[in-house]
Amino acid sequence: MVASGKQSADPHRPSEILDTLKNLGFGVAIAVPDSWLGEILVQIEHEPTMRLVRATHEEEALAIACGTRLGGLRTAMFVQNAGLLSMGAGMVSLAQRYQFPLLMLVSYRGTVEDPVFYHTPKGRVTEPVLKGIGLAYALADRSRPIGPQVERAATYAEEASCPFALLLSQEDVQW
């Protein structure tokens, strides 16, 4: 997933994510927070055109998202990559089997740039696991505006009728 366009000053990437979701008509976000996601979820709660649902577990969040999409709401998910690891059964037997187009915006913890060392085990295995379960994904490119990358991820999910995970860095998503 590479967005077109030159490198540009991007004043506040989390705002760009939220603005893109609103512009694309996303009506609901289903979330399980982590420290990077906390504030953008609060911002969504204040958006009159979007609804935030706080789930207790990422696999539960995935099923709620399938339900909101089934009912006709364009749906985004906000989860940490730990949640991608723990939702595998629901991903393959519900979201992928029934072909639900879902945009998954994922805080990618445990990379070499993450200052919190205990996330490392999750970061190390995230992409191999995503490949293993056949979940389409891309790493957000920090040298390019984030809004078009979110839009393309959302388009991919719809065109391919499947969940699509965009893996985000701290500066992409932490408000």
């Binding site: 694309l24 008509g25 009506g27 609901v28 289903i30 609804r51 649902v53 706080r54 789930a55 207790t56 577990h57 696999e59 539960e60 969040a61 995935l62 099923a63 709620i64 998202a65 399938c66 339900g67 909101t68 999409r69 089934l70 009912g71 006709g72 709401l73 364009r74 749906t75 059964a89 629901g90 037997s93 519900l94 089997r97 029934y98 072909q99 639900f100 187009p101 078009p148 839009e151 393309r152 388009t155 719809e158 065109e159």
Partner: protein, 210 residues
Amino acid sequence: MVNAATRPTRADYYQILADTLPKQALVVTSLGNASYLWAAMHHRPENFYFEDAMGLALPLALGLAIAQPERPVIVVEGDGALMMHMGALVTVGAVAPNNLTVLLIQNGVHAASGGQALTNANLDLAALARSAGIARAQNVATPEAFTSAMGAPVDGTGARFLVLSARPDTEVVRPPIAFDPVLTKHRFTAAIGAPRYVPTMFGGGRLQRD
């Protein structure tokens, strides 16, 4: 729970559900006989059948209730399935959708996988639901009590949660239709007039109604 042999069957409850189902209602059924028997007794395009994904019928129905607030949404879940994702009770309690009815078949076994024992077959699941914030939760042990509970008016206090004491039904019902998951989804979305994705050449498509 009462003696297994004297409990109503799933079919007893389903017959009442079929007889009292509002025309606009959407029904989500868990895996196994929850779906197979409902398809055999009352197939309609507004049914969404699970084949697998144990424990996820309730949260999916919650999402559906959020997206379709003008329609009653009824979900049939099992006690074993609920135990796999008890956190969903908390989320249902927090969201408190007035249009959601949870029918929890409490048969005390993992019926869909052959009748294996549950971790605990004797929980007061209505009390558990109330503790999770679902005020309208009650245990139901007879067809008459189920009829009465289904006839109670919506009171604006959130989801309705009925725990239906039932006999285990481990003999697999043969459904009268193919359970193609994508067909199930498309049949359902067409029936409710859900918007479809309308692409544009270079991205930025939207969901639109025809």
